[in-house]
């Protein structure tokens, strides 16, 4: 089965198994490989990944789905930063 992230890693020949993040039009942020949320509010959501903390800034942020390894953030996403 076609996997977008695997295909990217294969074509770029860069090994990246820590996490995957997809930003859809600044309204949806899909994250694979999170290790738990650190901060949760309507303006900032930050979560741990393997070797980094990702901070998402925006407005009316909401964790649309939170599972063991994946999460989906909805709202107006202004910035995604790795700390």
């Amino acid at each position: 089965m076609f996997n977008f992230f695997d295909e990217l890693k294969k074509t770029t020949k860069i090994d990246g198994n820590a996490y995957n993040i997809v930003n859809v039009s600044g309204k949806i942020l899909y994250v694979e490989g999170h290790l738990g949320i650190c901060q949760l509010s309507q303006d900032i959501i930050s979560f741990k990944t393997k070797g980094a903390i990702i901070v998402v800034e925006g407005q009316n942020l909401k964790l649309f789905e939170l599972m063991d390894k994946t999460l989906k953030i909805t709202g107006k996403i202004k910035r995604v930063e790795e700390m």
């Binding site: 909401k62 964790l63 649309f64």
Partner: protein, 381 residues
């Protein structure tokens, strides 16, 4: 499915990140919105709702609001609506209790439906389905109402459906048919049955008037159906005729002479006579009367007597001289009693000699066909 069937919580408490991290390892969390530092709302699967609630309370959070939604929630709500369940149960119980009974009677296909309905209502002793004999009811309706040609009774659900058709009954339904009866004495040699019930067998000796084929049949259900009997029955019959020859006999014959006497009468009074008188010693007389006036006032009657002169002669002849003629005459008599289509199988001559006379008996054995088609006259029941 999880979004449609959800369990919503609004909780209050601090350090919620750790709680949600732990909770997300066990359950999926949806639409998590932390709108205040100490307050957050989220949804979980409907089935995980109670477990999550325990987790929330175990973590020391306060549940501010709790909602349930979705199809499963509606079902679970229905299951806890004991009044509704009781009502449904009562409907089912009442349905199954009244199932074995006929609630209404419907009559289809007849203008006098109300009469039939009333008759059926009176006839059925019980409304219990198992005690209603539809076949017997059909026969009773058919017997009670003359103008019906078809009756069907069936129980559909809780209705007793009586389907009837009015019209002219075919003659076979009401008529009885005359059987095929033998017109001869004889022996049955062959039977070709078309329809009916044959009452004789090949080899049976039958008498005149005996029933050969009856006008009914019995079907597989044991019912007797009337129908015109049709069959070809072949019978060997013996037809005999006799002729007697006398050695001496006196024959009287007319000579040709005659005297005609006429007279007119009014009641017992003679008014006119032609005056002629009979002068023959041996004669034969022919008399006739004719009414002259066609009224009762003067009933004149013309009487006419014609006298023929006769002579008697003694004829002496031997049987041997006239044997062939006598035998042929007896055969002719015999043949008069046999039809043209009948097959002559055997002819016998029996000569009986007496004192001064000889009797010839001619016997013909013929095979006769008795067919039912010509004799299938039917009579009204």
């Amino acid at each position: 499915m999880k979004k449609i069937n959800f369990h919503y919580y609004e909780i209050k408490g601090l350090n919620q990140e750790r709680f949600f991290n732990n909770l997300s390892k066990k359950y999926s969390i949806y639409e998590l919105n932390r709108f205040e530092k100490s307050r957050a709302e989220f949804k979980v699967s409907f089935f995980d709702g109670e477990k999550v609630k325990k987790e929330i309370l175990a973590a020391g959070y306060q549940i501010l609001n709790e909602k349930k939604g979705g199809i499963f929630f509606i079902f679970s709500k229905l299951l806890k609506s004991y009044g509704l369940l009781l009502g449904i149960a009562a409907v089912f119980v009442s349905y199954f209790v009244q199932m074995p009974f006929v609630q209404r009677i419907e009559v289809w296909g007849s203008q006098n439906a109300s009469e039939i309905k009333k008759f059926v209502d009176d006839e059925i002793s019980s409304r219990q389905k198992s005690k209603i004999n539809t076949k017997a009811l059909e026969q009773k309706i058919m017997a009670h109402f003359d103008n019906l040609t078809f009756v069907s009774v069936a129980i559909l659900g809780q209705s007793l459906i009586v389907n009837v058709k009015s019209g002219i009954r075919p003659p076979e339904m009401d008529e009885t048919f005359l059987p095929i009866v033998s017109q001869y004495d004889g022996v049955v040699t062959k039977i070709e049955l078309v329809q009916g019930t044959v009452l004789v067998q090949v080899g049976d000796i039958i008498q005149k008037g005996q029933i050969l084929v009856a006008g009914y049949v019995e079907n597989a259900q044991g019912q007797t159906l009337n129908l015109p009997p049709k069959a070809n029955i072949y019978i060997d019959v013996w037809v005999q005729a006799s002729e007697t020859h006398y050695d001496e006999k006196v024959v009287t014959r007319r000579t040709g002479n005659k005297i005609e006497c006429c007279s007119v009468w009014l009641n017992s009074q003679q008014f006119y006579s032609n005056g002629k008188q009979n002068s023959f010693s041996c004669f034969e007389i022919e008399s006739s009367e004719q009414i002259l006036c066609k009224n009762n006032i003067l009933p004149f009657v013309l009487k006419r007597d014609v006298y023929y002169e006769t002579v008697s002669e003694k004829i002496v002849s031997s049987f041997e001289d006239e044997k062939d003629f006598i035998i042929n005459s007896a055969r002719e008599k015999c043949l008069q009693n046999i039809g043209e289509s009948e097959i002559i199988k055997k002819e016998d001559v029996l000569i009986l000699e007496g004192a001064g006379f000889t009797t010839v008996k001619y016997i013909i054995t013929a095979n006769i066909l008795v067919s039912g088609e010509d004799e299938s006259l039917h009579e009204q029941a």
